[in-house]
Symmetry: C2
Subunit: 187 residues, 2 copies
DNA sequence: TACGCCATGTAACGGGTTACATGATTCA
DNA sequence: TGAATCATGTAACCCGTTACATGGCGTA
C-alpha cells in the first residue's frame, strides 16, 4: 500500500524520498506511516516497475537529491487503485487495548498508571488536529490552487483524526474513573 | 505480539489452536486478529521456547486435538509483558482514510459510493457491540468466577469498540453530507 | 448431496522494522 | 561543540498473509 501513498503524493508534484517522508509524517501519519528506509526501497521498486522515473539533482552545500516523478503508467496505476472501493471494514491492531484486555492480573495501580500515561500522550498530541494545517499541505495548496477538491478530502480525513483523539481521551478518562471505583484493591 | 495473545488466553485455561482462534475472533478481533495458520505456527514456536506445553487428546467422532497449556516460564513471560506499560501512541493503518485522502481525482460519485459502502458495513457491524457478550466469554466467566476483575477490563475494551463504531458511523454520515454539499460536480 | 464445522498443519511470499553505514551544513 | 536537518542507501530479520493439503461428522 505504501506504493500508492508515494504515487499519490507524486501525482501532486515531483519529490525526493526525503520529501515524501516529510509529507507522510505531516499529513498521513495517523492512518499511514513509513520509515525512510522503506520509502527508498519502495521508490526503487516503483522505478523498476516503470511507475516512476527519477533524476539526480546536484545542489550547492547540500547532498545531491534524487527527484522522482510519475510516469503515465504510474498515474494510470494510481487511478486504477482509486477506482476500486474498499468493501470491508479495516481491521486495525491496537496494542494498548490488547494489553488492557489481559491486564487484570497486573493489578489496579499498574492499570491506572498505564491509562494515565496514555491519557497524557493523547492530550499532548491533540493540538496536531486543533491547530493549523501543516506547512507542507499549506504550501502544496498555495502552489496548486486547483487542489480545492483535494483539500476538502484532506480536511475530512483530518476531522476523523480529531474526533478519534477526542474519543480516545474521553474513553481514557471514563475508564480511569471506572477502574478507580470498581476495580478490587490488590490484596 | 500474537504470542502474548495466546499466552493471555492460555493463562485462563488450556486450549487448542482451533479454540484460540475462536476466542480471538469473539473477543479481541477488533484490536487484534490472526489467521489459524499463524496461530498454529506461533504455538509451535512458543513450545520450542518452553513457554507452553501440549498434549494430544484423542476424541471419538472428532479429529484429535492438541491441547496447549502454559508452563511456569510461559506464565512468567506473560506477566513480564503485562508489567511494561506502553509509552507511545499506537500508530494504526487505516486503508479507508488513506484512499479517501487521495480520492479527489476519483470524482464525487465514486467518493460517495465508497463512503456509503463503509457506512453500511459499520452499521451492520454495530450490533456486535450492542448485543450480549459472546458465548466464549460468558462460558469463561461462568466456569471461573474469580475472573471478575478480568471481566471489568474486557468490558472497558468492549466499550472502546462500541464508541469507535459510533464515531465511525457519525463521521461517515457527516462526511457524506459535506461531500454532497461542497464537492464540485465532475465537469 | 453439499455445505459448514471441527481440526491441524506446510510453503512461498510480501511488507515492514531494525540496525548498520556515511557525511556535510546549520543553528543554538 | 553538539544536536538537528538534509540526504541516500543496504542487509538481516520478523511478522503476517495466501495458498495449498487433508479429512471425518453433522445437518439442511
Amino acid at each position: 500500500m505504501l506504493k500508492y501513498v508515494l504515487l499519490g503524493f507524486l501525482n501532486y508534484q515531483p519529490l525526493t524520498g526525503y520529501d515524501l517522508e516529510l509529507h507522510i509524517r505531516n499529513s498521513t501519519t495517523h492512518f499511514w506511516h513509513a520509515r525512510l528506509s522503506q520509502i527508498y526501497m519502495t521508490l526503487k521498486e516503483l522505478e523498476t516497475e516503470g511507475l516512476v522515473r527519477s533524476e539526480v539533482e546536484a545542489q550547492a552545500k547540500r547532498p545531491d537529491r534524487r527527484v522522482y516523478s510519475l510516469t503515465d503508467a504510474g498515474r494510470a496505476a494510481f487511478f486504477d487503485w482509486l477506482a476500486v472501493p474498499l468493501t470491508e471494514r479495516s481491521q486495525a491492531k491496537e496494542p494498548l487495548l490488547l494489553k488492557l484486555f489481559f491486564s487484570a492480573g497486573a493489578g489496579k495501580q499498574a492499570i491506572l498508571k498505564q491509562l494515565r500515561i496514555q491519557l497524557d500522550l493523547h492530550i499532548r498530541h491533540q493540538k496536531v488536529y486543533e491547530g493549523d494545517i501543516p506547512d507542507v499541505a499549506a504550501d502544496l495548496l498555495n502552489n496548486h490552487p486547483q487542489l480545492q477538491a483535494d483539500a476538502l478530502m484532506w480536511s475530512a480525513v483530518r476531522d476523523f483524526g480529531a474526533r478519534y483523539e477526542r474519543l480516545y481521551i474521553a474513553w481514557l478518562e471514563d475508564t480511569i474513573r471506572k477502574i478507580e471505583q470498581d476495580f478490587p484493591e490488590t490484596s
